[in-house]
């Protein structure tokens, strides 16, 4: 997987991303991972706690509620007995450099 996601556990991160590849930004038609919206996935295996940090393409994205709720649902499905905490941040603000090479190809760049 060619992503910019920061993580403390590559194996679990891969498991999380598997589901997140199915969560699209509906306007762009591209999944949130290739779009570069997922910033961080930090796992605490002992406490069974996942801290996820993500952003949106625009702070005023009208689909934001839907995207975050689907990201949360996807992570909850992947880690069913875990406590999932999803943080939404706009620092740093998303820009096109965060899109993966596959995503750029999809967007015709």
């Amino acid at each position: 997987m060619n992503t910019n996601v920061t993580t403390n556990n590559n194996a679990l991160c891969e498991l999380a991303l598997k589901g997140l590849y199915f969560v699209d930004d509906p306007e762009v038609g591209l999944n949130v991972v290739d779009l570069g919206l997922i910033y961080e996935l930090n796992f605490d295996e002992d406490a069974k706690k996942l801290d996820a940090t993500m952003t949106l393409t625009s702070q005023f994205c009208p689909m934001g509620e839907s995207i975050t709720s689907n990201v949360l649902q996807s992570l909850t499905d992947a880690f069913q007995d875990w406590y999932i905490n999803l943080h939404l941040t706009y620092e740093p603000a998303w820009d096109s450099s965060m899109i993966s090479p596959e995503g750029k190809e999809f967007l015709g760049q």
């Binding site: 699209d24 009208p62 509620e65």
Partner: protein, 427 residues
């Protein structure tokens, strides 16, 4: 176990508030095209003709205003960076205007200047007051007020000015409450709505949505404030010149101010387009960008009105001016933006909670693209043929143009229905 989202996420307005406006507007567009088809000969009459007034008000209120009210309830949280203050006020806006508009339109059609026009106008005013209160409460409850929110606030005030002035004109038909007859004030009433409401709102919302849909990072608030100032100065100067009864040449000042504002808006859209991340632009965005260019047509018609009307002839150019506004620019932007915003709203309604479960359709798959293209062709042909028909006063062109516009309205209604009644298709 359990999960949380910690954020300051945008609050989305419920689809239940928004969708009735879209459905109402679609039917209004169809009705307006049917009436136009039946009465194409009105372009040869003075614009103060009952059927022309009926078509204009169905287009301005039932079509343009209702869909913009619906979209603005949805987009208000995005624009004011907060949430919609009251669903009750939003529903009241719909109920009062939805009842008032047909009463007013039938009143004009039959030229029943008594209770029909008065009741229709009062109901519309109540609905718009609810809307203005909602816009103000939502905007001032929000911590921040950006330039887009000020466009919204100003546009809602101009909308109220338009309908309240319209109410006065309606009562002035039977009792002299204004110094002159209602016809004398018609241009002020019309421009309050066209420039103050439609132009202000479309620029305010468009300057946010067009870069957002193009996934463009372009922003230039200073330029948007300049446009805000120019459009308002244009309208206020026009009202002053008209009230003072200056001669027609001074109106070029107002036209120039609005024209510069529009050119700056075109520049804003072009620069957003240039630095867009998504290279492939969909048909709906192309239609919306086409409507930006169409803004120039009414100005050209207006220049002819100013040059030719003092001779007392060529009143068809005034009709062309109004036609270019309502059936041109406003209709084009609605045709394009409907299948961007409506599909989003319905997508959010249907797939809000289960888009992760499997490959879900994207919003653009919630309408029939071929039908959209056919609608667009019918619309462009209808608009151009009818406009030429107005200029050369040719009955065959007028009927053919009206028929093509009617066809585009039928396709629009069917396609809107496909989106509105979409059922989930993912696993």
């Amino acid at each position: 176990m359990f999960s949380t989202v910690s954020d300051d996420l945008q609050q989305t307005t419920s689809h239940k508030v928004v969708l009735p406006f879209y459905a109402y507007a679609a039917i209004s567009f169809l009705v307006a095209c049917i009436v136009l088809m039946l009465h194409t000969n009105v372009v040869k009459q003075h614009y103060f003709h009952p059927h022309t007034l009926a078509i204009t008000h169905i287009m301005a209120l039932g079509w343009g205003t209702m869909i913009i009210l619906g979209a603005s309830h949805q987009l208000l949280p995005v624009l004011v960076e907060g949430k919609l203050d009251s669903y009750l006020l939003a529903t009241s806006t719909f109920i009062f205007t939805a009842i008032g508009i047909p009463i007013l339109a039938i009143g004009f059609y039959l030229f029943h200047t008594g209770w029909m026009l008065q009741v229709g106008a009062i109901l519309i005013n109540v609905g718009i007051v609810c809307y203005v209160v909602n816009v103000f409460a939502s905007s001032f409850n929000s911590k921040k007020r950006n330039v887009h929110a000020w466009y919204m606030i100003a546009a809602s005030l101009w909308l109220f000015s338009t309908v309240f002035f319209g109410l006065l004109l309606v009562f002035n038909f039977n009792k002299n409450i204004l110094p002159k007859d209602s016809l004398s004030y018609l241009t002020i009433h019309a421009h309050l709505g066209l420039i103050g409401w439609f132009l202000m709102l479309v620029i305010g919302v468009g300057s946010r949505l067009i870069p957002m849909f193009l996934i463009s990072k372009y922003t230039n608030n200073r330029q948007l404030w300049w446009i805000f100032g120019l459009i308002n100065a244009s309208l206020i100067s026009f009202i002053i010149f008209k009230t003072m009864e200056y001669n027609s040449s001074i109106y070029y000042i107002s036209i120039a101010l609005a024209f510069i504002g529009i050119i700056l808006f075109v520049r804003h859209c072009f620069l957003s387009y240039k630095v867009r991340i998504r290279k492939k632009v969909d048909e709906q965005m192309k239609t919306s960008l086409l409507s930006v260019v169409q803004m120039v047509f009414p100005f050209l018609a207006l220049l002819f009105v100013l040059i030719l009307l003092p001779s007392g002839t060529h009143s068809n150019w005034s009709i062309l001016y109004g036609f270019c506004f309502f059936f041109g620019w406003i209709t084009a932007i609605i045709l394009g933006m409907t299948f961007k915003t409506l599909t989003f709203i319905v997508w959010n309604k249907v797939y809000h909670k289960n888009a992760h479960a499997g490959k879900t359709p994207v919003p653009k798959e919630l309408f029939n693209e071929k039908m959209y293209t056919a609608m667009l062709i019918a619309y462009i042909v209808g608009f151009l043929v009818f406009a030429i028909g107005i200029i050369i006063l040719n009955d065959i062109l007028l009927k053919s143009g009206a028929f093509a516009l009617l066809l585009s309205a039928i396709l629009y209604v069917i396609n809107s229905g496909i989106t509105l009644f979409h059922k989930p298709t993912n696993a």
